[in-house]
């Protein structure tokens, strides 16, 4: 299934897309974990973004049971460290055979691991803004702008079948402006926040298999 939604606001454009490879669903007592793909693989996903996704998925009336990633990593030490974490679902079976791993995952009711990769980057900018201050006061004059792109991908692993359930991605672009005539007036595009909300909403629908989303 491919779902593409284009949302345009004054300064932010977002695209969200999912690709399903398995049937999903989550039962009572089952939980999910949000993880960042290893920085050994060059991933730069911000901790702030991971916490934002965790927070968004665990709030509201249809909240999912989200296990904090730090707690999950510590409970399975050392098998989810950046060096040791499985990079592909085909490695899950061997991981589950390691002493205590399957039991620890079952104890915590973890059904899905969601691996995030991607980051938010400034991709363009321009304009000129200068400020000066003197004994009689100060002020700024000019105009500056910059564009941030937030591009994130989430791979959903189903620990019940030890297989991939699919991927969800969000690509958000936002342009911020700051005109200044004595006082600078910032118009900030909340690119990363938008990417967090968009991806979290789509992940929720993906996991609970809400066909109306």
């Amino acid at each position: 299934m491919l779902l593409t939604t284009m949302v345009s606001t004054a300064c932010v454009t977002s695209t969200v897309q999912d690709t399903r490879t398995g049937v999903t669903g989550i039962g009572e007592g089952e939980s999910i974990v949000i993880m960042a793909k290893s920085y050994h693989l060059g991933n730069e996903t911000e901790m702030k973004y991971i916490r934002c996704i965790e927070k968004n998925l665990s709030k509201g009336k249809n909240a999912l049971n989200v296990l904090p990633h730090d707690q999950f990593i510590d409970s399975l030490f050392p098998w989810f460290e950046p060096r040791t974490a499985p990079a592909e679902t085909k490695n899950l079976a061997k991981l589950m055979d390691r002493p205590g791993v399957a039991d620890r995952i079952a104890e915590q009711g973890v059904r899905y691991i969601i691996w995030l990769d991607g980051d938010t980057e400034k991709v363009a900018g321009g304009g000129s803004l200068s400020c000066a201050a003197g004994p009689g006061g100060g002020g700024c004059f000019g105009f500056a702008w910059w564009q941030n792109d937030a591009d994130y991908n989430a791979s959903v692993w189903d620990l019940q079948g030890l297989e991939s359930a699919g991927t969800v991605s969000a690509d958000v672009s936002g342009t911020s402006f700051m005109p200044a005539l004595v006082i600078p007036l910032p118009f900030i595009a909340r690119t990363q926040s938008k990417a967090c909300k968009t991806l979290a909403d789509q992940l929720h629908s993906f996991i609970v298999q809400d066909e109306t989303a």
Partner: protein, 230 residues
Amino acid sequence: MNRTALLGLLLAGWLSGCASNVTLDPPTIPNPLLKQIPMSIGLRMPENFQNFVHQELVYGREEWSIDLGRSNAALFEQLFAHMFAGVTVLGPEDDPQLLPLDALIETSIDAFEFSTPGQSNTEAFAVWIRYRLKVYNREGELVSNWPVSAYGKSQSTTLGGSAALQRAAILAMRDAAALMIMKFDNVTQISSLAGQSATEPTPAVIPEEAESGDSGVQATALEGSADETS
């Protein structure tokens, strides 16, 4: 306050702003999921390993002093207590030959390096630590000499510079611990030394060339691979 004194004060403040001191609290390694090796080992750590301080002038920017304190010692004491059935931490005066040990492990730091966001042009601090582990058998012969390279990275945006560097160092230590749990026995074959402590202690001396680190016994392991579960 005269003008010169005020300028001096401002200059002192500016200079002190260019020095960063980071002190690490000893890390806590979570209880690892592993199969313990049924043997008794002795752990010997040199003085500078137990109070390691790294100082570096990042050219044209600022001076860093990173005090790892007892972090390294705490890491290895905790880790080996999980990995081996028995661990005895030896002082400088202790003779391992007089103790009922299967093997002796000596730890040291070959290198400590870090990078700041300004150097890497990213928002992250990174830390590299290269430990060296020497394993001796009951007779005091060097049986393995293993360099363990570890890496940790932490973004500065959420934690601030000092906290991010501390976090990167802790992650590097955890990385080293993960590598040792995975590879220690494969690389050093230490479990083959188990059972030697049942015999009576025999006087033996660790060879000087082994202590100097020039021994030809060198163990290597694949490091840096991101997915070693496969």
